[in-house]
Structures are given as C-alpha cells and as structure tokens.
C-alpha cells in the first residue's frame, strides 16, 4: 500500500464520515460545520486527483461562499442551539432502506461494468489550457455556456434582491392621501373643500 493509496482512503473516510454526521446531526449549526468539513475533504480529493484549479474553486465557492451563506441564514432564522425534532422511526427506516438499496444497486452496476484500466497517461490540467478552451469560439470551446452562465448569475443576483426585499408596510400617511384624492374628485366648489380637508385627517389619525 503506497502513500498515495493511504492518502486517498483517509480522505474518503473523512468525506463520508463528516457527510454522514452532517445529515444525521440534530443540531443545525453542527450540521453546517460537518458539511464544511465534508466540502474541505472533497477539495482535498481534487488536490489528490491533481486538478488544483477545481480544488481552489471548490474551496473559494463552497467553503468561502455557500457554507458562510448557510451559516448566516441559520443565524437569521433559527435558534442555533436548539435541537431539531428527530424524524419519525418509520420515515428513518424507509429512508435508510431506500438509500441502502439504491447504493447497492448502483455500486453493483459500477462493479460489474469493468472500466478499462487507465492508459496511465499523466493528467495535467494547466490553468492556461482551461482558460483558452473556456473562451474559445472554435469546436469544443465553451464560450456559449460561459456567457449563458454569466447571464444566469446576473439573473439570480437580481432575483435574490427582489425576493428578499422587504415590502414597505403601510405608512399612516397613505390613507390620508387617498381620502384627499377622493375628495378632490368630487366636483365641489372650492369653498367647500377647505373645511372638508381636516375632517378625514382627524379620522385617519384616530
């Protein structure tokens, strides 16, 4: 067993263990921290696979962005020390069965497929290659998905602001204005309007 294998199995056990704790922990804040460990472990797996760019993106976006966002939203919406109610026994049993059977079925397929043993070519991802192919307009270039994803990010940014914006509550001045408008609609002589204006004002303030 070489060092590379030992590193791989250690990282895998770390990922799976913290992922399992993340979905079973009853305190939501601990759950978020276990998710953080799991994502860091996945970044380590990318480093082990020598795709350093994806590992860096994983750390920046997931660990630095999404987990921090999740922790903020936990603080905004929950009492983070409170225990969450446990799922019912029936639901737990059926979920475990579904996950186990699904895993057994899928891994059976993977195991029997017999992937070709890799041609052991070195897999070196240079960031300059990624950049060139990402912005190339020739065949196998990714300029169109790149632009579409930039539009998606813009749309989601505006959408988040619109969704989370606080709708202004009704100011006490608003019904006053409405009543004034109603009064002005009536074709009354100007002499009558002047005494009629204070009346709705008093009603609205009471």
């Amino acid at each position: 067993m070489t060092a590379s294998q030992i590193i791989f199995y250690t990282i895998s056990a770390f990922i799976l263990g913290s992922g399992l704790l993340s979905v079973t922990s009853t305190k939501i804040f601990r759950s978020a921290i276990w998710l953080l460990f799991s994502l860091v472990g996945i970044a380590g797996l990318y480093f082990w696979m020598q795709v350093e760019f994806v590992a860096a993106v994983q750390i920046i976006v997931y660990v630095g962005g999404i987990v921090v966002l999740i922790i903020f939203s936990i603080f905004l919406t929950q009492e983070s020390g409170k225990e969450m109610p446990k799922p019912s026994m029936r639901k737990t049993i059926f979920s475990v069965l579904a996950a186990l059977f699904g895993f057994a079925f899928t891994y059976n397929l993977i195991d029997e497929y017999g992937f070709p043993i890799g041609n052991a070519k070195p897999f070196n991802v240079a960031v300059s290659d990624i950049g060139t192919q990402m912005l190339s307009t020739t065949d196998f270039g990714y300029i169109l998905p790149f632009e579409v994803v930039s539009m998606l990010l813009l749309a989601s940014m505006i959408g988040c602001i619109v969704i989370a914006m606080k709708t202004p509550e009704h100011e006490p001045g608003e019904p006053k204005e409405v009543m004034l408008d109603n009064n002005e609609d009536a074709p009354a002589p100007t002499v009558v309007i002047i005494p009629s204006v204070p009346e709705p004002l008093i009603i609205a303030e009471v």
Binding site: L16, V23, Y62, T77, S95, A99, A120, K121, C160
Partner: protein, 104 residues
C-alpha cells in the same frame, strides 16, 4: 499514479450521493435540505473529474462540467436562501410542513 482503481473513487461518490439522498428524505428543515442538495451536487462533481482523469486524460470536458456545476450550485444556493428568508418572514418557520398553502 493510477494506483487506486476508478471503482473506488466511484464508491466514494456513490456513497456520498446516497448519504445526501438520505438527508433529503429525513430532514424537514429547508436549510438542512439545502445542505443535502449541496452534498448531491458535490458527489456528481467528483464523478465528472474522476472520469475525466481516468478515462480521457487528454481532454478537459469533465473539468468544465465540474466548474459549471459549481457555478450553478452557487446561484441556486443564493436564490434558495433568499426564498428561505422570505418564507421565515411570512411564516415564522422554515419547516416544509408549515408551508402548505399550495398543497391542494
């Protein structure tokens, strides 16, 4: 370098996928369900990068798919958290059982 067979990496990603699925089934809190979805997306990313490394080492498509999935996951998480905060403002709870106005 290829001392670890591909099936072992696929074992890890498959196990992570079904761990996330278990979380999605048992949790009833919107934020924890979002965390389970992040686990699912990450397991798919591991698959893409591993297939690219082991089966097509002279191409880069798996890496591109992984990068785009990470981008879309970030956008999805941001929109989901905006919805969660808005839901908390109107219902004082982010349990999925409490938000049942559109159920029937």
């Amino acid at each position: 370098m290829n001392e670890v067979p591909l099936t072992h990496i696929l074992f890890v990603s498959t196990a992570l996928f079904f761990i996330g699925m278990y979380g999605l089934f048992t949790r009833r809190n919107l934020i924890t369900m979002l965390m389970s979805i992040e686990l699912l997306l990450n397991s798919v990313n591991i698959n893409f990068v591993a297939f690219n490394k082991y089966l097509y080492p002279d191409k880069l498509d798996g890496v591109f798919f992984a990068i785009f999935i990470i981008t879309i996951a970030a956008a999805e998480a941001a929109v989901a958290i905006a919805i969660v905060i808005n839901l908390y403002r109107s219902h004082k709870s982010i349990d999925v059982e409490d938000a049942a106005e559109l159920k029937f």
